[in-house]
Structures are given as C-alpha cells and as structure tokens.
C-alpha cells in the first residue's frame, strides 16, 4: 500500500456517495490511519452530480485541496459516465470501480481510453437482495475497500458493524441488511 491513497467519488445527490466517503474515512481511521473525508459542496439537489474525496495515509495529511490525480475513482451511478469526466487524472496504476450492469465493451467506450484496471459491481442487485431497497453506497463502500486493499474484509465488516449500530440506533432493523449488502458486495465486485 502506498503511503498516501487518494480516492474520488462520483455520485448523484441522494445516493449516499458523501456518506460512503465519510464511512470509509471512519473505517480507515479505526485501523490507525490518518484520514480526510470531504465532499465538494455545491447546490445540493437530488439527482445532481456530486463529488466526494478521501485521503488515507500512514502519516499526517496537510494538503487541503481537491483531488486531481486520484489513485481510485468510485462511480456510484453509471449514467454519470457519459456526462462527467470520471477518469480525469486517474492514475493508470490505479483503478475505477463502477456500479453498473454494462458490458466490458460498453464501458470501454464510455471510459475513453482509460488504461488502468476497471472493476464493476451491480450495486442495485446487491442492495435489493440484501436490503429490499436501492441504496448503492453500502455496496460501493465494500467494493472500493476490496479493490484498494485499504483494509481486510474482516476489518471492514467488524468496523461497520459498530458503525451501523451507532448510525442506525433508532432503526436497528436495517443493520442486518446493510451488513449483508457489504458481505455480498465484497464477493460480487469483479475485474473486467
């Protein structure tokens, strides 16, 4: 693992990309890392493209700018591939993780010559199977952890269990479904 890992999230307002980036920061913090988790605030509207960022490092992080050359990009909604330059600056040694059911050929065209690794996961299927509803952020969180190797599967699951207990203290019935979504996503994400 490199000393500094930079991740950029692309999603649409309401899909939980910001929350996912903060949960990732939390989980990495709990493994002893230095972390940053911050969204790019704009006019927040349901469905509008949003960006969020993570820096994760073994050393204190002093940089306070957006991320232009990320190691990883997470795309929570594949309709963004046509309208947002998601691979801009993405390192070719890095990877992009996309919530999609599109074929390898379709993705190749949409990613406009990105040379690095491409990972796909059907977060809708995972979420609907585990939660009965479409919340793509939990599966995407598991997918980026799996692809980046920021922490082990076990460390993620253990940490998120505690985190969900706190986050969903008033609706504990959704904890099991979210944990199941993480577990399924860890298995489902695949390189294409």
């Amino acid at each position: 693992m490199n000393n500094l890992i930079e991740i950029r999230w692309h999603g649409r307002g309401g899909q939980g990309a910001k929350t996912a980036s903060l949960l990732l920061a939390d989980a990495a913090f709990n493994t002893g890392k230095y972390i940053q988790g911050f969204p790019e605030y704009g006019p927040e509207r349901m469905g509008a493209p949003i960006t969020a960022y993570n820096r994760i490092s073994d050393k204190p992080i002093t940089i306070h700018s957006n991320i232009y050359e990320p190691d990883y990009v997470v795309v929570v909604d594949d309709t963004l591939l046509a309208s947002v330059p998601v691979t801009a600056g993405l390192k070719k040694e890095g990877a992009i993780v996309i919530n999609t059911t599109k074929s390898a050929e379709e993705l190749k065209e949409l990613l406009k010559g990105y040379e690095g690794a491409v990972y796909a996961i059907d977060a809708r299927k995972v979420s609907e199977e585990a939660l009965g509803k479409y919340f793509p952020n939990t599966p995407m969180l598991a997918a980026i952890v799996k692809v980046s190797g920021i922490m082990s599967d076990e460390a993620l699951l253990e940490d998120m269990k505690n985190s969900f207990k706190h986050k969903f203290a008033k609706k504990p019935e959704v904890i099991e479904g979210n944990m199941k979504a993480l577990e399924l996503a860890l298995k489902e994400v695949r390189k294409i």
Binding site: F29, Q36, P60
Partner: protein
Amino acid sequence: MSIRERLSGNEATAIAMKQINPDVVAAFPITPSTEIPQYFSTFVANGDVDTEFVAVESEHSAMSATIGASAAGGRAMTATSANGLSLMWEMIYIASSLRLPIVMALVNRAVSGPLNIHNDHSDAMGVRDAGWIMLFSENNQEAYDNMLMAHRIAEHKDVLLPVMVCQDGFITSHSIENIELENDEDVKKFVGEYKPQHYLLNADEPIAVGPLDLQGYLFEHKAQQADAMRAAKNVIKEVSADFEKWTGRKYDFFEEYKLSDAEVAIVCMNSTAGTTKAVVDDLREKGVKAGLLKVRMYRPFPAEEIAEALSHLKAVAVLDKSDSLNAAGGALFEDVTSAMYVNERYVPMVNYVYGIGGRDTTEKQLESVFLDLVEIAQVQNVDNPYRYLGLRKGEN
C-alpha cells in the same frame, strides 16, 4: 493523555465549546458555520452543558445578546460566517470597545455579492480593524486548540478584548480529519473560572456600560484599546506556552515551516498553509529552498517579529484570500510590507490574490508561486507586485 478522534472543524469547535461550558451562547445559523450552534444546541438539550442557549432572530441580535451576557458578567460565545458577520458589524465594534472578552468562531466565507457560500477571507478582513484579537487555524486541530486558548487570552486583565477564532469554511469546517482532543477535566482546569472585575449584575458596584463618550474621552478610550491589543501579544505568548506544556502542541504568533534556511517563502493563513507545506516538502526534494510563514495571530499583528523572520529571504510572496479592491495590495500583503519597511528590512515581495469564493487552491498553483519567486530572487526585481493566483485567464 490526548484522545485520538476524527472530526470536522465545526465538530471540533462545538466540542471545544462544550468543554468550555460557557454561561451563554447566542447564535443564528449561517452556512458554513451553522453546524456549530446546531451541535451545541444538542449538547444543551442533552444536558451536557448548563449554558443558556439563545436562539436569536438575526446575527445582529446574536452579537447583541452576547454583549449583554458578557457585560452582565457571564462568559459568552457565538459563531458566524460572512454575511452573518456583516450583519453583526455595528455590534462587533461595540463588543471590543466595551472591553468584553467574548469569543466567537468565525468560519470564513466570501461576503456577498454575488451570493457565494464558499471560503475566502473577505469576512474576516472586513473586521480586521475592529479591535478583536484574530487567530487563524490551519485545520480542525488548530481551530480546537485556538478555541481552548481564547478565553484565557480574552479575559486576561491586561487584555479584556474579544477573540475571533477563524478557520476555512468547508475546506476545514466540513472535512473529517484526525484530531487529538483533550479530556473535559483538563480543559476545565486550563480554561479556568471566569471572574469578571466589573460587571452589571454586581449589586455591590453599580456601573454603567457604554454611555456617551464625546470629544473629551473617546480618544483616550481608543488609545486604551490599542494598548490592550499591544499587551495581548505577551498574553498570547504566555497562554500558548502554558498550552504547549499541557498538550505538547506548540503555538506561536506564526509558524515557520522550513523557513530558517529558505531562500524563497510564501506567507499565508489557514488551510492553504497546509497545502503549502506539502509543496515545500516536494520542492525541497528538487533542490528549491522553499519555506512557509503561516500567520496564526493576525490581530494583534506581529509586525516586528514577521519582519525579522523574513529578513534573510531572497523573495517573498504574500497570499491574500480576499481582494481589497483598492488598486493596491491585499490586506495581509500591506501588513507584511509595512512591517518590513518600518523595521528597515528589504526583500522583494509580491502579492497574490487567490482562492476567492472557494476557488480551489492546488499544489500546482502554489508550486508556480515558488517558481515565480525563484525567478524574482535571481533578478531581484518585481515587475508586477499585484497578481492573481488561480484566476482563469482572459476573464478578468
């Protein structure tokens, strides 16, 4: 023993306020400082503090209520940003001239118009001559630490001035980062109990606060405020030294980062200083002797000390996150160049107005400033001292 945590700058500020447990907090919500009174009102509702929380109807009232509480003898706090501070304007001057040790969190944001909710320092620069002590914070840790030191400074008998703790809106106020918190008991001990000398609710000493003050006295009272601002330098030094003894975290009037052997340096405040540190490290590896002077204490302004710290350099860039729109330089540039002139130091200096309205300040931009400085250092001549950084070309 510090507590390892991860918090946003706003959360860190609210937690500092919880640990300080002031008598009164009066605030009105405004982006990006809204979360501070929001979190704090939760602490009030949960009984974590015994503060009287006043949910006022405007920022003018927020500062007025804070002034009333402080004049009555209470420890009073508030938080705001940008246009909220603009609306407080009248009361900002009254707070400092009544010598009330109020503490305010200012989460820096561009003042309208046109409307913008993002970070620059135009709000803080608008009140730089209002008689408030102004401390700037690079990150959540410094926002927290400055807040813990603020009351000790404000309430000191030689000072009795309000203190403003600034941090960058969204960039640090909404970014989750690692932080070392101190435990409640230690904070309580460090901040201490507030024992006002003169206050309205003291039945044994009836006083008037803020009466008419005409030709015969206002001048002398203003000179006393200026004396208090001068005296604040020593107090800030002492309180920072005590803070370092307690936490191990060192604070001075400004931070020198790889400055002592530098040839070229940037002077700036708040979060950009952190990004500059990364650029300095990178340039040092490439053989450029780059350095940074990060101003923490902007008011009082440490003119003599800054002039001394910059005197050995071959070229200096001062970065202003607010345009003074005066056909001359930004506020920080004018302060630094004036400090150099008065202290008979000459170093070629250049001013960059940057980051306006939340324009992201990147490592590349800051590196370009250092490369400009290397060139200025060679020719020892500045063609155009008033420049922009990060402005799109052809649109100004």
